[in-house]
């Protein structure tokens, strides 16, 4: 049981990162924009929160936790949304190819983040010396009251930093927004059939811009969680964020574009990713094979969906296609 509890905890921490990434990307893709820049956006979110927190903590002797949280979160969201804005401008206004733009954004985000991450490390006196303890502590604070619940139940469900619960809340809100609200209906229509949404009077360009920027902002919170909670306020230039970003993209497909499925799907991905730690006598090379499991599951899900032929499980019909009203 103890082994499972640790595995589960790891899975939840891991899953929270990709849940943010996937929920943001679902909102983006529902507008018909296939933004493959998720890894880059998560990089941007991570490094911006770190930059903001670092300069705030260095400017004062007594950092106030709530200010730390606000600065880091706002920096992460805005920087990621800016990444979304770059993507939107290139693909919606200039009608550049979405796949190429997205991949470029990934490279761009990773470059920017590692450049500033390196600089920060140097500022603080070398690799490993970078610390934002106050901010990191504030983010890792657990839910008051509930975290005292003892036993395995407490360990399984209540011993996480509060951002893990925010992720679930965001996923639920995104689900309600998409399936219950009028603007959510319009957004889905934009992604399915922009010409129809346009003819019905929805502002296609505005919907696409907003969904992509807000979606990117939410994805970027994954980077925030990674830096502040998962690695506890350090910058590691090891490419983990990038592989997490791709997992988030895979998770979008796994969820069949439904945020509610991202909640359990992300934890499942976490379990599958870490399960190799708990298999005895496994070689290093085989570990890497086990890390493939989330992708294998995604492919299996794709095959099942394709066999069931249910229209509701298909990607938004206009995903990846530019829209121009006077096009014939």
């Amino acid at each position: 049981m103890g082994g499972f509890v640790t595995l589960f905890q790891q899975a939840v921490a891991f899953g929270t990162i990709i849940m943010f990434g996937a929920v943001g990307e679902i909102i983006t893709e529902k507008s018909g924009n296939l933004n493959l820049g998720v890894p880059g956006i998560m990089y941007l979110g991570g490094i911006s929160s770190l930059l903001g927190a670092f300069f705030y903590e260095n400017s004062t002797d007594n950092p106030i936790p709530i200010v730390c949280v606000l600065i880091a979160a706002v920096c992460a969201f805005l920087a990621s949304a800016l990444g979304g804005l770059i993507f939107s401008f290139l693909t919606i206004t200039l009608r550049a190819n979405q796949n190429v733009t997205g991949l470029t954004l990934t490279i761009f985000g990773s470059g920017v983040a590692n450049f500033f991450g390196g600089s920060l490390n140097q500022l603080s006196g070398g690799v490993g010396q970078l610390r934002v303890p106050a901010t990191s502590d504030a983010f890792r604070a657990q839910l008051p009251g509930l975290s005292n619940i003892g036993g395995d139940i407490g360990k399984l469900f209540f011993q996480y930093g509060w951002l893990a619960y925010v992720a679930i809340l965001v996923a639920i809100l995104a689900q309600v927004y998409l399936s219950r609200t009028r603007t959510g209906l319009n957004l889905r229509a934009v992604g399915e059939n922009p010409a129809t949404a346009d003819a019905a009077g929805a502002n296609v360009t505005l919907y696409k811009y907003l969904a992509t920027c807000i979606g990117a902002g939410i994805s970027g919170l994954g980077g925030l969680y990674y830096v502040m909670d998962f690695t506890q306020g350090k910058w590691a230039n090891d490419g983990t964020i990038e592989s997490l970003g791709w997992l988030a993209v895979a998770l979008v497909i796994f969820t069949t574009w439904r945020p509610k499925n991202a909640i359990w799907g992300s934890y499942l991905f976490g379990l599958l990713y870490w399960v190799y730690m708990y298999i005895v006598g496994i070689s290093r090379a085989s570990q890497e094979l086990f890390k493939m499991l989330p992708y294998v599951v995604t492919i299996v899900v794709l095959i099942i969906i394709s066999l069931r032929k249910k229209r509701e499980n298909q990607p938004p019909e206009a995903l990846g296609l530019p829209y121009f009203r006077e096009d014939r």
Binding site: A189, A197, D198, G201, E326
Partner: protein, 514 residues
């Protein structure tokens, strides 16, 4: 200004790029409570003009007045706010949404209602005008006619007083068309203005009060329908006298080209689509295939072309006109059959769906037929380019250039490219299905003429058509399919429309001798 005028368009001009002028100085009025037919050949700018009313396009110059006030319609929403709604040829519906969700789409927050109220509103509109819509049904489960009904209901729900219908009958059966016309008359009686874009002349005469005619983007004039005839409208549309009789040249050299015996095919759901059909086709003859749509026409042609698997026991024998050699086509690949000279030009509902690549120009589309010829690893572009120029010239394809992607061409022109290419391959058997679907009268006659030319050359032409008048005027023999079975072959010269219609709908009992 006259109080009876709902919309007035003045000196409207619209160009795409620098070369294509879609509308040039068009001025016309739409009255309240009338059905106005907008008539014109393919590419004469009917749809473009109406798209400016509905906010899809914006005019380069000119003014639009609604109820006497000048308006600037810059988006579909503006059009809705003015009470103008358009039912497009390609439906503007989201497939994975229910009927209710489609109606709710894009509505103002001020008009925000929950789905239940909207569903109730839909039912009310349906009762008022005699529609039939299930608010909970998903669009992808609907038939074409149901989708169209939903489009109209959606437009009415949003308060449209002026409805524009772009070729609404192109995809409907005659019964569905009658139903549509009945509700259009109900709506007219309710004081709505209706503009119907079409080029089916008998429908214009049946439904409209007035007819406005466009030709090559210019406004020609408006006439009262009661003063118009098919002949007079055609002349206004085309600008010259048109011979409305289809010729049927007599040929001497008829020889057996195809023998089909006991052919049965299954459709994609495993249901028998073609049941024990035996038929012959002769060179120098046009064999017409009649039948209600979906009676097995598609399977018959595709089986001959090698695209459709045949059930055991059937056979299709091809007799080579030069050597007289007999060859069995079943079991041969599409390429082998093509090499023998059997050509299929099939025009599906979606004209780009089969045979042409939308994003490629005419030259490249010609190459699709010939890329396997030649000995060098490099493709020969010269011959296809010449062929493209020839097709453009002879069939009067309206395009800025032979390199322009064919999807940018109007529907009729796309069809000319397709048929032109198939004929250029000098087939010995030419199968044309729905070759004039959606084409205006002038272009249709060009196609009939082409088929007759092929017949004179000794080609066996198989023509699947929808219009019985045309089948009877063009074909030497007509095979009538009913429910996948061959229900009789009649002589095109002596058969009557009623006779063929009867064969299409009522399956004859097989004689007991069989």
């Amino acid at each position: 200004m006259d109080n009876n005028i709902a919309v007035s368009m003045r000196h409207i001009t619209k160009a795409f790029g620098t070369k294509v002028v879609a509308n040039k100085d068009v001025s016309m009025d739409i009255h309240r409570g009338e059905i106005l037919a907008l008539l014109g050949e393919n590419g004469s700018g009917k749809t473009t003009l109406m798209n400016m009313l509905s906010g899809i396009y914006h005019q380069d110059s000119g003014q639009i007045f609604v109820d006497g006030q000048e308006v600037h319609i810059t988006s579909p929403k503006d059009a809705y706010d003015l009470g103008i709604g358009m039912i497009h040829q390609h439906f503007k519906l989201v497939d994975v949404f229910t009927a209710t969700e489609n109606v709710a789409l894009g509505m103002d927050k001020s008009a925000a209602k929950n789905n239940k109220e909207i569903a109730k509103g839909i039912t009310e509109i349906c009762e008022k005008y005699g529609f039939d819509v299930d608010p909970k049904k998903k669009v992808y489960n609907m038939t074409v006619s149901q989708k169209q009904t939903l489009e109209i209901v959606k437009t009415l729900y949003r308060g449209a007083d002026i409805l524009i219908l772009d070729e609404p009958t192109a995809v409907l059966t005659p019964q569905e068309t009658d139903k549509l016309f009945a509700v259009l008359r109900n709506m007219k009686a309710d004081g709505k203005s209706i503009i119907i874009i079409t080029h089916k002349l008998h429908e214009v005469l049946a439904i409209s009060d007035r007819v406005s005619i466009l030709r090559k983007g210019e406004y020609i004039g408006t006439v009262e329908t009661k003063d118009a005839t098919v002949q007079s409208l055609t002349e206004m549309m085309v600008g010259q006298k048109v011979e409305l009789d289809i010729e049927r040249p007599e040929t001497e050299n008829k020889e057996l080209r195809l023998t089909i015996s006991h052919l049965s095919c299954l459709d994609k759901y495993g249901v028998k689509a073609l049941d024990d059909v035996s038929l012959e086709a002769y060179g120098g003859e046009i064999l017409g295939i009649a039948g209600i749509s979906g009676s097995g026409q598609k399977q018959l042609l595709e089986a001959i072309a090698g695209l459709q698997a045949a059930e055991d026991g059937g056979s299709i024998v091809y007799i080579d006109p030069e050597t007289g050699k007999k060859e069995e086509l079943i079991g041969k690949s599409v390429t082998q059959i093509k090499k023998m000279g059997v050509a299929l030009s099939f025009v599906p509902e979606d004209r780009l769906g089969m045979g042409l690549v939308g994003s490629m120009g005419m030259t490249d589309n010609m190459m699709l037929r010939s890329y396997k010829k030649g000995h060098s690893i490099f493709a020969d572009r010269k011959a296809p380019r010449e062929l493209a120029l020839k097709v453009k010239e002879e069939l009067e394809v309206v395009t800025p250039g032979i390199q322009t992607p064919v999807r940018k061409l109007s529907g009729g022109n796309v069809q000319k490219v397709l048929v032109g290419r198939e004929i250029a391959a000098e087939p010995t058997v030419l199968m044309a299905a729905y070759a004039v679907r959606g084409l205006d009268i002038n272009t249709s006659y060009t196609i009939y003429h082409l088929l007759n030319e092929e017949k004179k050359k000794g080609t066996a032409v198989i023509y699947v058509g929808e219009d019985l008048d045309v089948l009877l005027a063009l074909c030497d023999r007509i095979a009538v399919l009913c429910d996948g079975k061959l229900n009789g072959v009649v002589d095109g010269r002596t058969a009557t429309k009623e006779e063929v219609g009867e064969l299409m709908t009522n399956l004859k009992e097989k004689e007991a001798t069989a």
